[in-house]
């Protein structure tokens, strides 16, 4: 299990790095899917099978499909990729990268220094999650549904405008 | 009931002027004049030799009504001779402002007169209120319409000037508000009563440090208004940019609220602290006289020059107030009135130059005498009044002030007298650059209009009368200043010592 975790983690990090650095949007998108799948594996190793399934279905499935559609509609071509290249000079990325590295370093430091004993993960099954969702978190679930509704309506509204060509 | 009427009538008139001003341009003007005359009638009724029954000696009228009794705030108005004098000055100069704006102001006539009346109402309130909270209320009320007067009808850099004016006065006003609250709390600590009543707050016992801090709070608020160097710098900008009527109101009356505040509040409320503050106040007064004069000499903008001369003149008022004797105080009061008239008149004259020639720049003027001898003669008259020629009102004020100051500090009096020499320099430079010299084809202006002429004539008569027979003014003001009598008596031994050391 540990080996699987390690492998998945390495894949996740590498593919995420690729997401950030690719110039062609579709490539980046594919790497993102890989990254999400790797994280889904991590979830699985952590004993959160339900979350892993959701990650694959909704993230890697539904959301990424949205991305694909949009990227297709945008008609990105060679020029866009070249432009991305010109935007990615070291002068541009050095500062933000350093900042992010510092932040990540701080988080890592906090993660390492924060706890005393290492405890193994305990499995949490879909039943438990379901009971929690429709028990104490009922209100949150309802709010989330409202949020999704709002997202749906606004996306529809905006998309309709864009369909008419503004 | 007459005292609140004095304040309410202009406010009501403002409402009426505003409502009817849409269609007929002269309607607001007439309403304003009517309201001012009505006020003047009431004031004339109040100007009687015998005070009403049941009032403390020196007080002429009284009004009291509860406002926020829980906090000890009431609508308390009282009038004594000093207030009465300043109210007369207020009404007269407001009337003059209306008269000279008759033709000059054509945009938003209704709102202009609303602002004028609202300012007047605020000023009247300031001169009457004897509840500190109410006083502060009026103090702030007079600012806002004045701000609009400058910002809407002013000249080139009016917004800058208006904001500067507002920031200075508002900022210093907040200091005063703090001091007022602190004073009320100090009073409650010592007596258990929470009140803003002026008469109850007099003689509030407090430690000397507290007294000094609170005194400074009041002093700075009034010093900004007066204005005292180094708080003067809003004044030249505001005066320069304000419309003529605004300048007249500012110079003539608004500045006097500062002096009034010093006489009415700062000194009686904190006599000991104020007394310890005397050397600094005298130094500031002298500094104001000289600094204002030096700056006035260098100006090429006529309005700015007159504005700086105001700084110089009001330095005398500060000297007079902090000289701690009746002579100097009387001098300060007369100087206030004379300055109101003479500087107001100068602003009117400069305003009419600006109105006709569209410039106030002395470098482009000159030779006005050729085209307008009468105008120039009047201009010369007020310039000379402003440099303190004996026989005119300003001289009486300056002389008495300096005479009183000499008792406290001869060097201060001598330096003040040096200021008179500088006054001659700037006044004559103003005259020479504007009026004298060869005829200038670009600067030909006609004579004054009828309304201007009447206004000017009245002001000339007033300033001459003040110069040759100031006794009525002195008599009217003396009871109010005698309130300060015990203070100066208390101050006397100390001062005597000081003057001993100072005298050669």
């Amino acid at each position: 299990m540990n080996a699987l975790f390690t492998l998945a983690a390495i894949v996740a990090v590498i593919s995420t790095t690729m997401v950030v650095t690719r110039t062609v949007a579709v490539h980046a998108l594919l790497y993102l899917v890989v990254s999400l799948l790797a994280v889904a594996t991590v979830f699985f190793t952590l004993g959160a099978a339900f979350a892993a399934a959701l990650e694959v279905i909704i993230y890697a499935g539904a959301i990424m499909i949205l991305f694909v559609f949009v990227v297709m509609m945008l008609n990105l071509d060679r020029d866009d990729a070249d432009r991305e290249n010109t935007w990615l000079t070291p002068r541009v990325w050095a500062g933000p990268a350093l900042l992010s590295a510092v932040l990540a370093g701080e988080l890592l430091y906090a993660g390492i220094a924060g706890h005393g004993t290492i405890v193994a993960a305990r499995e949490v099954g879909p039943v438990q999650v379901g009971l929690a969702l429709f028990g104490p978190y009922l209100l949150a679930v309802e709010l989330a549904s409202l949020l999704l509704l709002a997202g749906l309506i606004s996306a529809y509204h905006l998309g309709r405008d864009s369909g008419r060509g503004g | 009931m007459m005292l609140p009427a004095l304040i309410v009538i202009p406010l009501l008139a403002a409402l009426v002027a505003c409502l009817g001003g849409r269609t007929r341009a002269n309607w607001p003007r007439r309403v304003t004049v009517g309201a001012l005359l009505l006020d003047a009638l009431i004031l004339a009724e109040l100007t009687r030799p015998v005070p009403a029954i049941g009032l403390a000696p020196g007080w002429l009228a009284h009004f009291d009504a509860p406002w926020i009794p829980q906090l000890g705030i009431s609508l308390r108005l009282d009038m004594d001779g000093l207030s009465l004098l300043l109210l007369w000055l207020t009404l007269a100069l407001t009337l003059a402002s209306v008269a000279i704006s008759w033709r000059e102001v054509t945009a938003h006539v209704g709102f202009f007169h609303v602002c004028l009346l609202a300012t007047t109402a605020g000023i009247i309130g300031v001169f009457l209120a004897t509840d500190l909270f109410l006083f502060f209320f009026f103090w702030e009320i007079m600012l806002v319409p004045m701000y609009f007067l400058v910002a809407i009808w002013g000249h080139e850099r009016r917004v800058h000037a208006a904001i500067k004016f507002f920031l200075f006065t508002q900022g210093s006003g907040l200091l005063m508000l703090l001091a007022i609250f602190a004073l009320a709390f100090v009073h409650r600590q010592s007596t258990g009563e929470f009140t803003f009543d002026y008469f109850k707050l007099l003689h509030t016992p407090m430690s000397s440090g507290t007294g000094m801090l609170l005194m400074l709070g009041f002093f700075i608020a009034f010093a900004v208004k007066l204005p005292v160097v180094p708080f003067h710098s809003w004044l030249p900008d505001t005066h320069t940019q304000a419309p003529t009527a605004g300048s007249v109101l500012l110079a003539g009356i608004l500045l006097k609220t500062g002096a009034y505040g010093l006489i009415r509040f700062t000194i009686p409320l904190f006599p000991d602290a104020a007394h310890r503050f005397t050397p600094i106040a005298l130094a500031l007064g002298v500094l104001g006289i000289l600094y204002g004069a030096v700056l006035a000499i260098g100006q090429t903008d006529m309005k700015r020059l007159v504005a700086y001369s105001s700084v110089s003149h009001l330095g005398f008022v500060l000297l007079g107030i902090f000289a701690w004797n009746t002579l100097a105080l009387q001098g300060a009061v007369i100087q206030m009135i004379a300055h109101g008239i003479s500087t107001g008149a100068l602003f009117i004259l400069v305003g009419s130059v600006q109105d006709r020639l569209h410039t106030r720049d002395l470098r482009h003027l000159g030779g006005l005498w050729h085209g307008a001898p009468r105008f120039s003669a009047v201009f010369l008259f007020f310039a000379i009044a402003s440099l303190g020629l004996p026989g005119l009102g300003n001289f009486v004020g300056e002389f008495l002030t300096l005479l009183g100051t000499w008792r406290v500090s001869p060097p201060a009096a001598v330096l003040g007298a040096v200021g008179l020499v500088m006054a001659a320099v700037y006044a004559l430079l103003l005259v020479a650059r504007a009026l004298l010299g060869p005829a200038n084809p670009q600067a030909v202006m006609g004579e004054l209009s009828g309304r201007h002429r009447v206004t000017m004539a009245a002001m000339i008569v007033a300033i001459v009368a003040l110069g040759v027979y100031p006794q009525p003014v002195i008599d009217m003001a003396s009871p109010s200043l005698l309130h300060l009598g015990p203070l100066s008596a208390r101050a006397a031994p100390l001062l005597h010592l000081a003057s001993r050391q100072d005298q050669p």
Partner: protein, 102 residues
């Protein structure tokens, strides 16, 4: 089979978050920025799940579910906006869209 330590998962989350942030900061193309945001959200979800696994409680996964909802809603609106922008202005450069400048 050795159990995975949730602490390590937290570390992974931190790294992914950092990468995502770097993406947001570095990329000028809105599409890439949105993707990077997804990465960051995902990292957050990972942290929640790891926390839940540490204590054996369902709350971590509930939170992940909520984050997921949020991501879905956000991405749908965001993509719609991108489409709109694309039709209005022929660029997805985030630096050009600075009309909100104070």
């Amino acid at each position: 089979m050795g159990a995975v330590a949730p602490a390590n998962a937290i570390l992974l989350a931190a790294i992914l978050f950092g990468l995502g942030l770097a993406g947001v900061l570095i990329r000028r193309n809105l599409i890439f920025m949105l993707m990077s945001i997804e990465v960051m959200l995902n990292a957050t979800g990972l942290a929640f799940v790891a926390g839940g696994a540490r204590w054996g409680q369902a709350d971590g996964q509930v939170m992940f579910l909520l984050v997921l909802t949020l991501a879905a809603a956000e991405i749908s609106v965001g993509l719609a906006l991108i489409l709109l922008l694309q039709t209005r202005r022929p660029t997805l450069d985030s630096d050009v869209g600075n009309r909100l400048k104070g």
